[in-house]
Subunit: 336 residues, 2 copies
DNA sequence: ATGAAAGCGCTAACAT
DNA sequence: ATGTTAGCGCTTTCAT
């Protein structure tokens, strides 16, 4: 019967077993090169045999480095975030960081409180698409190294997915399909990304000299999209930009329910390219976000921030992905 | 300019500021009732002013309680998990636990290694739908309090969603719609839930005296479903049970592509009732899992396990949710 | 190259 | 009710 681990395995138990001091054991793990080959081998062997795992809390206490980062998301339930969480976690683990996930449940007030709670236990923070105001963020974040995803906060390192180019391309695409009147179904005003996307589309519409009717903001959810579909129907636009894919799916459902067919009667483009975008019928023309790169960049920036390097603002371009939700404008729809 | 927090705020800085000992400060937070009202007030006031946050690592070191639990999921990207993660996190936070999320990326070998890594930093573990074998789980888990979700592991507390009743109801429903020949599109053999679901359906089919053709196992993913759709088409079944909604969506896509219409030509039922199930066209008849209750129960069980209480095995019933993917058997499809 | 000792921030006896 | 002290497991000077 192997595996009779009586109590906890610490550097002390190992030290005793090996006839060395605890410091040597510690060194054998943290700076192996400075301990003699034979004793290092022995220590490692014993450690493995005993199933030793360094106590991160203790190490953190001693070093001031927690070995953990906090990841704050507004809504883990939103399909945009799980892949992002994964990519961040993967990048974090190569930097030897665990990830403390915190879900704010889409309420801004929670965000600041939650940050307050985790700040003592982490080396740094990644906050994704926060809903709080800049001012609130600034005061609760204080001097804890933080990188912001999909938002730009003055003085903080950030990495955003820039959808401007792709959204412009989407507009052009629709224009070539004959559309001249567009609906902009706006996302939550509190979302930086929503504002950025709206601005990009506004800009494009002005340049392209097409009509744009804005409505919203709507919740970044399926139900928000249902609501938005009414606005789409009420406008006499033939094509719409939804804030994100989730909302677009709701719009789709609303349109179908109202007897409007996509893409035959109306065209629709989403944003983010979440799983849903591919599985919905018709599949969504959307802007694909570079989620993997986003996560990796966030970790890089965080490392820099902890190292005291100046804050950088990264922008990674989304790319237009053509699918089935966009088509030629229906005959007779083009106004005089 | 407020906010010049010189160094770190500890119980000592507060103690000094208040002219009391550190222990009193500590007590003011951990057992407020045993310290005099006036000094408690003062301590709290100063703490608030200085922005004191107790250092969880230190507290954990001293108490042996980490204030953190680990949550291991096989694939955060699978839409079943985010709502579960949320419900667990909410339940955990009322027990004053933070949640360390660990994504195994669907590879069983990772699971044991990841468990190894976090076990030292958490009070307990919740492992959701693990893919590892019982034996592997048992050895890596060792004596760390653990509750298992959607799987039964001898000797461990567990809470599962029992889909037997609902699946049986689904079968009955389909039978009433005239279906007599069914396809069972099986999920990953390593998944306990998959085996359980298959068994339930097998049982029902035998009792109901209908034909059942099994195929799989298929990956619990959209692509797995695409693959499974072939098997469905090859069998001459008129209705199929997919392992889960995600797979069902893939099946749907495969059928559509092959020119088969749901529910006109074939019926399909999923399982879990993830967001996708509602948004896909046609929306999926599926078994709704009580995700909130699952999370709450898991935390309860974990608390019990940590308290040394004997392991309980909870089963929470899923409920059948009728939607648009099931319909009457097509004329002529009923065999002699 | 290794050991001894102090200390990270906190809690928990044990005094008083 | 409050102060003193020791110690959680680890790292890190400082000696040797």
């Amino acid at each position: 019967m192997a595996g009779d681990r009586p109590k906890r395995v610490t550097i002390y138990s190992i030290a005793r077993e090996c006839g060395v001091s605890a410091s040597t054991v510690s060194r054998a793990f943290t700076r192996p090169e400075i301990v003699n080959d034979d004793v290092r081998e022995k220590i490692h062997a014993v450690a493995r045999r005993l199933g030793y795992q360094p106590n991160k809390a203790a190490r953190g206490l001693a070093t001031g480095r927690a070995g953990m980062i906090g990841l704050l998301v507004p809504d883990i339930t939103n399909p945009f975030f799980p892949p992002l969480v994964r990519s961040i976690q993967q990048a974090a683990s190569v930097a030897d960081w665990s990830v403390l996930l915190v879900d704010a449940d889409e309420v801004a007030a929670e965000e600041t409180e939650l940050v307050e709670q985790v700040r003592s236990q982490v080396d740094g923070l990644i906050v994704a698409s926060p809903r709080s105001t800049d001012a609130d963020l600034e005061t609760t974040l204080g001097d804890i190294p933080t990188v912001v995803i999909n938002r730009v906060v003055p003085g903080r390192p950030s990495v955003v997915c820039d959808n401007t180019t792709a959204l412009t391309a989407a507009g052009q695409h629709l224009r070539e399909l004959g559309h001249r009147r567009f609906a902009l179904l706006k996302g939550p005003e509190a979302s930086w990304a929503a504002r950025q996307r709206s601005e990009a589309i506004r800009q494009w519409a002005a340049d392209a000299e097409v009509d744009l009717v804005e409505s919203g903001d709507f919740a970044a959810s399926y139900d928000g999209g249902r609501e938005a579909s009414r606005a789409f129907l009420d406008s006499d636009a033939t094509a719409a930009f939804a804030f994100d894919d989730l909302m677009a799916c709701g719009v789709l459902a609303g349109l179908v329910e109202a007897g409007s067919s996509v893409p035959d009667d109306r065209s629709l483009v989403g944003c983010d390219d979440v799983l849903l975008a591919r599985t919905v019928t018709p599949s969504l023309t959307t802007v694909t976000a570079p989620v993997g790169a986003l996560g990796a960049a966030a970790i890089d920036l965080l490392r820099e921030a902890i190292g005291g390097e100046p804050a950088r603002e990264l922008r990674l371009d989304g790319t237009l992905t053509l699918r089935a939700s966009t088509g030629t404008v229906p005959v007779g729809a083009v106004r005089a």
